[in-house]
């Protein structure tokens, strides 16, 4: 455990060094969030009764999504990991007396957390000061806020464990570009990154909520605004824990299999 903690610390402090990049990210994400809010505001003007949740909750969802983008964006994968698999450096990684799976897991979490620490607060603070329906509202209640924090952590773990599957699949395909494109766009769609899940037709939404993708940003962002009933919240947390266990188990097994038959690319 200590080994992985130091992997984590190493990557985390390293990630904190990229402050200029973070500034660029903040501007981009702020502009992005602003445009998203304008679209939803236009739809709200067109037909307010068709909105599945209050406009203020939608705005909070969008701002939190931008603020915590680094935690949940599946496309922000570690290019270095793909590089080690492609150029053969994986051989060195496998010589170490550590589990490759756990090492990559620790380091992915560290990268995402360090990015989020640098980027989230400025966005959250500015968004909180925007005029009422357009800004980040206060959480529905203290209970919701605590649950939001818990599911935020679970969602992060879930995102990383799904990305781990893609890293490991790269062992088998060598060229991960096509795989990544498909995985990125499919999970963005099912996770509620394109449009929040409540905006989908009801039947579809019910199915989508059961998928592992819905256990990432969908749960914490909706709990924050209080647009889930207490039964829905319980079920969502349960699903998060279930999928996290299932996916990490599958990832570990697959990693084991991949390591047995790994061919190191020369060069």
């Amino acid at each position: 455990m200590k080994k992985y903690l130091s992997f984590f610390r190493l990557r985390f402090t390293m990630g904190l060094q990229y402050r200029a990049a973070a500034l660029g990210g903040i501007t981009t994400q702020f502009a992005w969030g602003f445009m998203e809010i304008m679209i939803f505001a236009a739809f709200h003007r067109a037909d307010a009764s068709a909105f599945p949740m209050s406009f203020s909750a939608t705005a909070s969802y969008l701002w939190l999504q931008q603020a915590f983008l680094a935690l949940f964006a599946v496309w922000m994968m570690e290019n270095e990991i793909f590089d080690t698999i492609i150029n053969g450096d994986i051989a060195y990684e496998m010589c170490r007396p550590v589990s490759v799976y756990r090492m990559w897991f620790a380091r992915s979490i560290a990268t995402r957390l360090s990015r989020a620490v640098l980027r989230s607060f400025p966005i959250l603070i500015v968004a909180a000061f925007l005029p009422h329906p357009y800004g980040l509202a206060a959480p529905a209640s203290l209970k919701h806020f605590i649950l939001f924090l818990v599911t935020l952590v679970l969602g992060l773990l879930m995102t990383v464990s799904l990305c781990m599957l893609v890293y490991i699949l790269a062992f088998f395909t060598i060229s991960p570009a096509g795989l990544r494109l498909i995985f990125d766009s499919a999970s963005d769609f099912f996770a509620g990154a394109l449009i929040p899940l409540p905006f989908f037709p009801e039947k579809m939404q019910r199915i989508m909520e059961l998928l592992p993708f819905a256990s990432m940003q969908n749960v914490p962002l909706r709990i924050y605004g209080g647009s889930m009933s207490s039964y829905e919240m319980k079920r969502a947390v349960f699903l998060q824990v279930f999928w996290l266990a299932a996916i990490t188990f599958a990832g570990n097994a697959l990693c084991h299999l991949a390591q047995k038959r790994v061919t190191v690319q020369g060069g």
Partner: protein, 261 residues
């Protein structure tokens, strides 16, 4: 004339190069198709719930989205070299470009011709045809011509944006993340007519970065909401945006210091 021949030669080299890895090419093209397909699904499901936005119906939004996507993919296909320009500056490759007796823009343009964007283009064309069938626009010669003008103007505007994006690398060595909002962001948010984003955004998109000239105004003409002929020629006017972009690029080249690697 010679430079055009040279550019076409570059393109043919690039295509032959890509075609050596046929499977990879088709997979990436399919991936490109899929990426914009989920954006389309996003629009589709929003319109399952809402019947119109700011007076635009589903099929009208689709027309707008598809033309914008075509403009973007065309520009990306031709001007992809600018998109990856930061690598060229950092590796010192640009030094080699400068010593050759040939225009540097042609060389950078020719460094990469992204045929895989064909996947995105196909998605845009399918959506465009679907949009035309769904909407009841009375097509005329002038309206068809407007679409072609939109494609020309749009490709010019996005190429200019890529050029600016690349020119920043002369000063920062890294490509700037916030520029993405003007390229990828415009592609994403251009799925809805600019008018949806309110008065101020429309002013910005008219006079500063001319998105509205290649999207909103000609769309109004095609939909028959505005009859003035000027709306038909506005997309061509948008090509003015290439001038400041080129000037900025020239300025950057003058200040270029080799990264030394």
């Amino acid at each position: 004339m010679r430079s055009i021949r040279l550019y076409l030669h570059y393109v043919s080299i690039n295509i032959r190069c890509v075609m050596q890895y046929k499977t990879s090419f088709f997979l990436t093209a399919a991936g490109q198709f899929l990426v914009s397909f989920t954006t389309f699904l996003g629009v589709f499901f929003m319109f399952q719930r809402f019947s119109r936005v700011e007076g635009f119906t589903y099929s009208e939004v689709l027309l707008c989205f598809s033309v914008m996507l075509m403009e973007f993919s065309l520009a990306e296909m031709f001007a992809r070299g600018f998109d990856q320009f930061s690598g060229m500056v950092r590796s010192g490759e640009f030094d080699r470009v400068l010593v050759r007796p040939q225009n540097e823009i042609i060389q950078v343009l020719g460094s990469k011709f992204e045929l895989t964007r064909f996947g995105r283009m196909l998605q845009a064309v399918v959506m465009f045809i679907y949009g035309i069938i769904q909407s009841d626009i009375a097509w005329s010669f002038s309206k068809a011509l407007t679409v072609i003008f939109m494609l020309i103007g749009g490709t010019a505007v996005f190429t200019a944006l890529f050029l600016i994006y690349a020119a920043f690398c002369f000063f920062t060595l890294e490509s700037l993340e916030f520029m993405n909002i003007f390229t990828d962001g415009a592609r994403e948010f251009g799925k809805y007519p600019v008018g949806v984003y309110g008065e101020k955004m429309l002013l910005f998109a008219t006079f500063i970065v001319p998105y509205a000239l290649i999207q909103y105004y000609p769309l109004l003409y095609i939909l028959g909401r505005r009859k003035e002929l000027i709306f038909m020629f506005l997309p061509l006017l948008a090509c003015w945006f290439l001038i400041p972009a080129l000037m900025f690029w020239k300025f950057g080249v003058k200040h270029y210091k080799s990264s030394g690697s």
